[in-house]
């Protein structure tokens, strides 16, 4: 019973973590504001991931709270207006590395289960 509950928690955590990871990865290119991050993820995945702003902003603020990103109001180069730019911290970089490897492990594990033939060849 309790192990099942733990499993469920892990899954949710992973999924949530995925968005965090994507954001952190996006910020690796340099500072960006929320809109840019959302658009970037959406475009790069060929609109496969429809960015929900409802989860994007909470995620950004969560990352900021954990100290993985910091934010500052800066004037955009193309528009003469201020946006809230997020940038990666060192802590965030480390987190990205950790999450990346975790994700890789999981992707490989899933792959091994899903396509066992591929491994044989």
């Amino acid at each position: 019973m309790s192990s099942m509950a733990k499993q469920a928690q892990q899954r949710v955590g992973l999924l949530q973590g995925t968005l965090d990871m994507l954001i952190l990865r996006t910020l690796l290119y340099g500072p960006a504001h929320g809109h840019q991050i959302g658009k970037h993820i959406q475009r790069t995945t060929n609109e496969f991931l429809q960015m929900q702003h409802g989860s994007l902003y909470p995620a950004l603020h969560r990352l900021e709270r954990r100290g993985w990103v910091v934010s500052r109001w800066e004037t955009a180069t193309d528009r003469n207006r201020e946006f809230k730019y997020y940038r990666l911290t060192n802590k965030g970089r480390k987190q990205l590395v950790a999450e990346e490897s975790q994700w890789k492990q999981m992707a490989e594990a899933v792959a091994r289960v899903m396509w066992p033939a591929a491994e044989e060849s």
Binding site: H61, R79, K84
Partner: protein, 871 residues
């Protein structure tokens, strides 16, 4: 994260969302969508900004303290938006909480705090008990002789001490007027028994408390400050009490007020009283305090004393007035005995009031929740959690109760201040303080109120109804009937409690009216009384005393405006005071062990005329007979009925202890020695015999009564510079003073009942208005379809009256039980007085109808077209 940072964070988030949304809008426009549509497209792509904000904010404020702060802010905002509701709710709470805190403080101070004596649980008040003449009594004051026997022979008490309240005249000195003071006689070991030390100076010693000793006196703190300027040099000085010298040996602590709060002096009892009083077994007049030895129970102690009494009784079988057993009560119970019941009753009443207040606030909240139900439903649909909604309700209630509590504490403070000022006569009034326990009680009450009203309000927004609320919202034809029914239940409860309070108040009020209008047997209008005592030291002989009274009365009667004047030792309404045993000379001797006694008073011949006590048969005293020659007696009607049944009393003779037989010359009407007590037989002896030295001067006049105070005082001080005149009271004031308790209790309970009636009316009005609004559409349709307006009104009225009638029935039934609590406090009426019940029912129905009629009338005047368009 504190509130300030959160605030900043909020603004930041708002700005971030706005700038990003604007960007989205710009991009939409740039991709060629028209101006107007770009906005909507942007919003579509972006999602609901409000929701995003809520969710993002939640990231930052996840711990409970922050969510509490958020609830607090939200509630504050909600409350501020409806100032009317907020003010009413806070006032209602303040009233309920204030009344409870005030009364709890009183109960705690008076009843719950231990007495300020050493090891007070071992202190008991001792009484004589058994048969006295024809009366049986369980707790009679003790005779000096029996006290001595108890003290010498008991094995259960580490000490027994004696007390008696008296009045003494303090001579004028240093330019101060003479005055009459309440004083107490103590046996030398009383303070040691209680475990109290004087604050200044020393305690009495055995040597002080013996017949030959020089006079010694202890002063109360108050008297020392007031009269002697708090000068410590007063120690070992001499003051004059009833013209006798006394040496001040000490000052008692400020809080010390035994045997009662009016006591200002203490003197030793054996030094003061004649030996025969202190050794008599049949002259009962002392209070005895005992300290039980460790390990001895109160009943063991009483058994011990009863054995001694039994033996003494058997040795004096020829004296019918020697008791044969003893009884005891804890000292605290003795001191607060009379006030205990009314206090607890009032506490119960205030608790009812608090409950009503809570119900009322809950009711208002439910009503408001009903108005806001669409908002709440939408919030729930958008993902607002139910727990949060409950949290908000509770927080709102907590805010209301806490503000109410703060205000209530102020109210309580004011009420207590007023109480201790006006009721300084109440026992232990000095121990009434708002302290930490009371503060904790207040906090507890506040929390309880918040929880109680909050939960009721919260559960009225059950999440199951959300969808229903949205459905209702589309067309409010029969909306919110479930919620209305919850409110009706609350209302019925409120009405029920109100009925109980009203019945209680009504019963006390009627009882009080009976009491006030009780026939005292004498004139109570146009009479003023003044207390006067002439010290034995200066008026040693009967002749001097009789002369004093004659001169005084002659001069008072000569004052302009005086219709009549008289003097008696005790006037009606001043209490039992004194009785004498007597025998009737013409009757055969009574069997051994039985005896007769009646109240005894001394009066001058014109006293009966002045007081309007009718002389039914015979005549008044012969004014020419003085001193030993004044051997006449006048008896009251009930005396004649009881001791001379079917016999002519006039001309018979009464013999009292140590006096010549007196002939009965007249029969006068019955009077009550105390308001609320049945008349008892009285024997009046002539003042002219010069026996008595204390009494009350009465003056009857149709002019302003107060104006006589000064001239009489002048007459007295001309006759004797050191003589104080005290207790200048009109007969009405005197009687009012003796029923102060009743009037006080009645006033409070009636006030509580009135407040709760108003609260119930407000509640009823609110519910009716709400129901009327809810049913606007329905009524519109009905009227449009041809329903008669008076029919609509009748329907609405009946709808509103139903909870009132239901509550009334419940309340009446509960009052049958509650009335029993009142039984001991009622005078000449039964707890089931039908007139009171009928009056309460009628009042309540009238008020309820009045509260319902305005909304009902408004509903019946609806214009159907407007009603249908209202949605």
């Amino acid at each position: 994260m504190n509130w300030w940072q959160l605030q900043k964070r909020d603004a930041d988030l708002e700005r971030e969302l706005r700038s990003d949304l604007e960007l989205e809008e710009e991009e939409q426009r740039e991709s060629g969508i028209s101006e107007g549509e770009a906005r909507y497209a942007a919003l579509r792509a972006f999602g609901n900004p409000t929701l995003i904000r809520e969710q993002t904010r939640a990231i930052w404020s996840r711990n409970w303290l922050e969510s509490l702060a958020r609830d607090l802010r939200f509630s504050l905002r909600t409350l501020r938006r409806t100032p009317g509701f907020t003010v009413i709710a806070i006032l209602v709470m303040a009233l309920g909480i204030g009344a409870n805190v005030a009364l709890f403080t009183v109960v705690r101070g008076v009843l719950l705090k231990p007495l300020p004596f050493h090891d007070p649980d071992r202190l008991v008040m001792l009484y004589e008990a058994g048969l006295l003449g024809d009366d049986a009594t369980g707790s009679n004051v003790v005779s000096g002789g029996m006290y001595a026997e108890w003290k010498n022979q008991n094995r259960s008490y580490s000490s027994l001490a004696l007390a008696k309240g008296i009045r003494v005249g303090l001579s004028g000195s240093g330019g101060q007027l003479p005055e009459k003071l309440n004083s107490a006689l103590f046996s030398w070991d009383m303070l040691r028994t209680l475990g109290v030390q004087p604050a200044l100076g020393r305690d009495f010693t055995l040597a002080d408390d013996s017949p030959g000793a020089n006079g010694t006196v202890l002063l109360s703190w108050g008297l020392w400050k007031r009269r002697f300027g708090a000068d410590p040099g007063i120690l070992n000085q001499t003051i004059f009490l009833d013209a006798q010298p006394y040496t001040v040996i000490g000052v008692m602590p400020k809080w010390f007020d035994f045997p009662d709060s009016s006591t200002q002096l203490w003197t030793p009892v054996y030094q003061e009283n004649r030996e025969d009083v202190m050794t008599s077994f049949s002259n009962h007049q002392f209070r005895v305090v005992g300290r039980l030895k460790p390990g001895i129970s109160a009943s063991q102690g009483v058994a011990d004393l009863s054995l001694i009494s039994e033996r003494v009784h058997n040795e004096h079988l020829n004296d019918p007035f020697v008791f044969r057993s003893a009884s005891s009560r804890p000292l605290l119970e003795h001191i607060v005995g009379e006030i205990k019941k009314p206090l607890y009753l009032l506490l119960e009443a205030t608790f009812c009031l608090l409950l009503i207040a809570c119900l009322n606030v809950a009711n208002l909240l439910v009503a408001r929740a009903a108005v806001r139900r669409k908002e709440l439903a939408i919030r729930t649909a958008l993902g607002g959690s139910w727990l949060r909604l409950i949290g908000e309700r509770l927080m709102e209630c907590l805010l209301l109760s806490a503000s109410g509590g703060a205000l209530g504490l102020l109210l309580a403070f004011a009420a207590l201040h007023w109480l201790t000022q006006t009721r300084s006569d109440m026992s232990r009034v000095e121990s009434i303080h708002i302290d930490s326990v009371v503060a904790a009680f207040t906090v507890g009450v506040v929390a309880l109120c918040a929880l109680f009203s909050g939960l009721i309000a919260a559960f009225s927004i059950s999440d199951k109804r959300i969808l229903g609320a949205l459905h209702d919202g589309s067309r409010s034809g029969s909306g919110g009937s479930a919620r209305a029914s919850l409110r009706k239940v609350l209302l019925a409860l409120e009405v029920g409690l109100t009925v109980i309070l009203l019945i209680g108040g009504g019963l006390l009020l009627k009882s009080y009216e009976r009491l006030r209008s009780a026939d005292m047997g004498c004139i109570t209008q146009d009479v003023i009384t003044m207390h006067l005592g002439i010290p034995d030291a200066r008026y040693a002989t009967p002749a001097r005393r009789a002369n004093f009274y004659d001169t005084l009365l002659d001069r008072v009667r000569a004052l302009p405006g005086v219709d009549a004047a008289g003097f008696a030792t005790v006037v009606p309404g001043q209490g039992y005071q004194m009785d004498w045993t007597f025998s009737i000379v013409e009757h055969p001797p009574l069997p051994q062990g039985s005896g007769q006694f009646a109240l005894s008073r001394w009066a001058d011949p014109k006293y009966f005329h002045a007081m309007g006590i009718p002389i039914l048969r015979g005549r008044t005293f012969d004014g020419g007979k003085r001193l030993d020659a004044a051997n006449e007696v006048i008896i009251s009607q009930s005396f004649a009925n009881q001791y001379f049944p079917g016999e002519e009393p006039l001309g018979r003779h009464l013999r009292v202890n140590g006096r010549n037989a007196a002939v009965i010359v007249g029969i006068v009407g019955d009077t009550r020695y105390e308001i609320g007590e049945a008349p008892r037989p009285v024997q009046y002896y002539p003042l002219d015999a010069g026996v008595e030295n204390v009494g009350t001067l009465v003056i009857r006049s149709s002019h302003d009564l107060e104006q006589f105070a000064l001239p009489v005082q002048r007459i007295v001080s001309e006759m004797d510079r050191d003589l104080p005149v005290s207790d200048v009271l009109t007969m009405k004031q005197l009687l009012g003073k003796s029923i102060l308790d009743q009037s006080f209790n009645t006033a409070l309970l009636v006030a509580f009942a009135t407040v709760s009636l108003v609260l119930a009316a407000v509640g009823l009005f609110g519910v009716m208005s709400y129901i009327a609004t809810q049913r606007t559409t329905e009524i519109g349709i009905r009227v449009a379809l041809g329903a008669k307006r008076d029919q609509v009104m009748r329907n609405m009225l009946l709808d509103g009256m139903r909870p009132a009638v239901f509550g009334l029935v419940v309340g009446l039934a509960a009052s049958l039980e509650a009335g029993r609590l009142l039984r001991d406090l009622l005078y000449e009426i039964k707890p089931l007085d039908p007139a009171v019940y009928a009056a309460v029912a009628a009042t309540l129905l009238a008020v309820a109808a009045f509260a319902c009629i305005v909304p009902a009338w408004r509903a019946s005047r609806l214009d159907p077209m407007q009603a249908l368009r209202a949605e």
